[in-house]
Amino acid sequence: MTRLRAQGVSAHYGRTQILFDVTLPDMANGEILGLLGPNASGKSTLMRCLSREMRADGLIALDDMAQGDYGPAGWRDKVAAMPQSPPSPSALLPTELMWSTARALALDIPDAALAARIEAMFAALGLSSVALSPLHTLSGGKRQLVGLALALIREPALLLLDEPTSALDLHWRMVVLDLVRDRLAQRGGVAIAALHDIDLAARYCDQLALLSQGRVVAAGPPAEVLTPETLAAVFQVEAEIVARPGGGILVHIVRPLPRALHRHG
């Protein structure tokens, strides 16, 4: 049963501190944590720290073992990350990208089984028809789905998704997050997703962390984190929170507020 802890995480780019003592809610197996925040609030930097792409101070632990104790290869086996940018529009085929990633990671899967796994992943993400089409012929949304398929080709304990739905239409946004939730339910693990869509985050995430200027402003279940006050402080918007039939909440953004009145320090 996967358990993730991130406590007091700080990170710097050169001499500039980007993250300040960030603590996320402890995550239990099968949970999705949503990272919300305006641009440059530190979401992607936190993702890089969690994936070990960037050095961080503080505690990041998976299954009660600190990140540093895993070693680079050990952590790489446990964590799969989907970066913010989709795969480059080169002449590479999505199947080749999946294949080379699996082989570069030394996944011990016979060719036929790997093909089956790739095909199943492409089918779930509506990519079957473009599996053998060069990436440069695919739309941004399709390439983003290829990026997600790459992250899911393994069965990681920690899945990091940096704005996984930013280029997708309404249908595929929900399909993607349904797929992630189903994967976690079936195979275990936890996922952290940086999102800009607040309603989507409220709907799919078990917990949320609201970031602003590298600090956590609020963290916990969506109903506790998404309040008119926190949204005003972090996003400078006037919002109404409505209870959704069948549970959960809906966020209705009324209008932007003058930024100077609600600057968060």
Binding site: R76, P83, S88, A113
Partner: protein, 349 residues
Amino acid sequence: MTDASASLHARFGHIQRRRVLVLGLLTLALLLCLGLDLMAGPAGLTAEQILRGLFDPESLELRHRIILWQVRLPDALIALSVGAALGLAGVETQTILDNPLASPFTLGVSSSAMLGAGIAIVLAPALPFVPETAVLPVMALVFALGCGGLILLVVQFVGGARETVVLFGIAMVFLCNALTSALHYIADADGIQQIVFWTIGNLTKAGWTEVWIVTACFLAVLPFSLRHVWLMTLLRGGEAHARSVGIDVARLRLWVILRSSILTAFAVCFVGTIAFIGLVGPHIARLLLGEDHRMLVPGSALCGALILSAASFLSKALISGAIIPVGILTALVGVPVLLALLIGQRRRP
């Protein structure tokens, strides 16, 4: 295995088999070019004489035997080894810098070799333990490897960003070109002519020693390139993606630049700065074989060797009794092939 998975496996397998066939056809074309290159020249050697001379040298009359083994074969084989080395260096440089305009020359290695050769020609320094006839290639090699070393230092200590590498490489090109121009300024007419001839590229001065050295260098580097084919293929999906799956891209860049610098340095030090092959050879291979480096790496080496071998043949066949410097012909051979492939690809549905 489900039917659906068999379908993808089968369709992908079909594409791969077609690519293997293309590699086979490239190899056949290369052998054909090699044969034509061996036949070209005023001695009028026939295909039958060449084949007989290769397998039973004693059966040829002495004059023909010397022409085949001491002149034609070294020239033809250095074309293959230099072309293959530049093609391999080119494809790896383009991938690691994610830049289709990159070539072994982007890093400044060949400009450094040109500077070294220029110094050897104009200043004629005496090097300890180096015979006078070997000073030029040794100087070219030392300068080229020195440039490669400088780039590695930049990658290691300033940061491995591809923009940094390209910028530094271009700066090295301008610096070396400026210093070579200074050599032109102080050289006499004969020196200037020698430098110009060296920069055009010439295969006819190579002997067996040069063939063995360049071939050994290529064969020594190739296994390391093949070992990285998966990493280089996934790098075509973008650097962010490669980093996200835990690949140390900066370290990979270091290894690839080291390989590319060594290949380029050894390729150009004996025959001069033969341009174009390292740039276009990989593009032709990419159009024929796609981006999978399992196919692209051998394909680029084959295309590089094929272009230079064809240029070598034409350099002897175009004007009877004369040999045109091969560097003049590489673009004339490669550009039509590249254009034909691009047009063919555009017409494909």
